[in-house]
Point group: C2
Chain length 249, copies 2
DNA sequence: AAGTGGTCTAGACCACGAA
DNA sequence: TCGTGGTCTAGACCACTTG
């Protein structure tokens, strides 16, 4: 990798230098200017070429290693992580995003879309007061017209006022959070079980009662907020749906 | 928090100082000596009391923030993350570790424990040559004496020579990697499905054929290595096992 | 021996928050 | 104003890898 002598670093920018270096390298990796397993400039090389201290260069490279863009080997150097090893599975996605990724046409049928008073379970999961109002959105989710899942979402309305007026038939809940309300999703917990379909579920999913389905309870959190924004109880057809997750550390 | 003047830090240990500080604080949080939202010593305080440079103290605190043990606010200080906000779900754990966390006595019964030539599926998942030898470890896993899961692991032997000589009846595979081979696990992908139990599975798990079970295919990676160390096909009793995962971003 | 990353030091200036 | 974390510097010693 070539380093333009001392250009590309703006010492008067409010953006920290190590962050500028990070972005510089990320960009080169994403553009393909840096090939998989290609050696990056060493810390001392950056010291000279970019005119920064070694600790600063080191910080940039350490963080890139944490984010899995590069790997480092003592005595050898820093190298670009080949794409195969990189986090390839999207972690926090909605059904719509998920289906599009898999090449299916997502669709939906609304069962319920209204403000309700949360019941005990919902209140406990959302950490709301028992009488507090929440937005309930129950949908049957389709992939290429076939019913694939039943999703019952309960949403804390204080983060997204007026959400009950939106038609979610073919709209992603998560992209609505992000685009309409500027809400950045942070993390989620899923509790996953294999259970037999109830009669009602079987009818809605067009399968036989007792067939295995994937039951997923999910709590979704927003960046910087202590309380969750969404609690969802979902059921997926066992014969048609595979859940992919990526675990770290 | 009280800091014992300069004790508890061993400057001649091969363990880095920042890591010693991290462990010190983690321990106090886990023991409850540091309460939720309690203020930690500041960086300058650690400089004085522990006799380390500020950068070292800062590194320890930064990493604790990344690991969600503490949160930091400019101008205010560093504080213990309340347990509710903390990542409570271990991400990459073995069955044994998992069961201990849930308060069950883990146990096991070995079905197979030998070096084999990998079949096509295994070779593809482990990215080995089709004729390459792998260590096959098939176990029935027990929780409080009850069969709960069937785990079939295939392990790349080049990372852990001699592993076939170890008795894994009551031993964790992952802690063996870490303690005996010094292998640091990095990340894993799981593909999760709800399927009906086959006759053989039903017998081994002491349930009826056709009952829902959780089928999980997992590929596990090691830090700094491009190829996976383990591919596992596991089946968990649907009525007894819930899989918890934490998703980020 | 030379190059690399891993760690550590003893300073420094800044922006932010609370008093 | 003072204490805090956020960043940065210019050195240093070490262990590891490669020639």
């Amino acid at each position: 990798m070539q380093l333009e002598n001392n250009s590309s670093i703006d010492r008067h920018s409010p953006v920290p230098i190590y962050h500028q270096i990070k972005e510089l390298i990320k960009e080169k990796i994403e553009k393909g200017e840096l090939k998989p397993d290609e050696k990056l400039p060493s810390e001392t090389e950056m010291e000279d070429k970019l005119g920064v201290s070694r600790m600063t260069a080191s910080k940039a490279l350490s963080q890139l290693e944490n984010e899995d863009y590069i790997y480092r080997e003592q005595g050898k150097g820093s190298f670009v992580t080949p794409p195969k090893m990189r986090n390839s599975l999207l972690s926090l996605t909605s059904f719509s995003e998920d289906m599009e990724q898999r090449g299916f046409q997502p669709g939906g049928k609304i069962l319920k879309s209204e403000i309700i008073k949360g019941n005990k379970i919902v209140a406990a999961e959302l950490e709301t007061e028992p009488e507090e109002e929440v937005f309930a959105l129950h949908r049957i989710r389709l992939a290429d017209e076939e019913p694939l899942a039943i999703e019952k979402s309960y949403i804390r309305t204080s983060y997204c006022k007026g959400i009950e007026k939106i038609n979610f038939t073919n709209r992603s809940l998560y992209s609505t959070f992000e685009e309409k309300y500027g809400i950045q999703l942070h993390k989620a917990e899923k509790a996953i079980e294999a259970v037999p379909a109830t009669k009602v579920q079987a009818k809605q999913l067009n399968i036989d009662a007792g067939e295995p389905v994937l039951s997923v309870d999910q709590t979704t959190h927003v960046k910087g907020e202590r309380n969750p924004i969404e609690y969802m109880e979902a059921v997926y057809r066992g014969d048609q749906y595979k859940l992919l997750v990526q675990l770290d550390r």
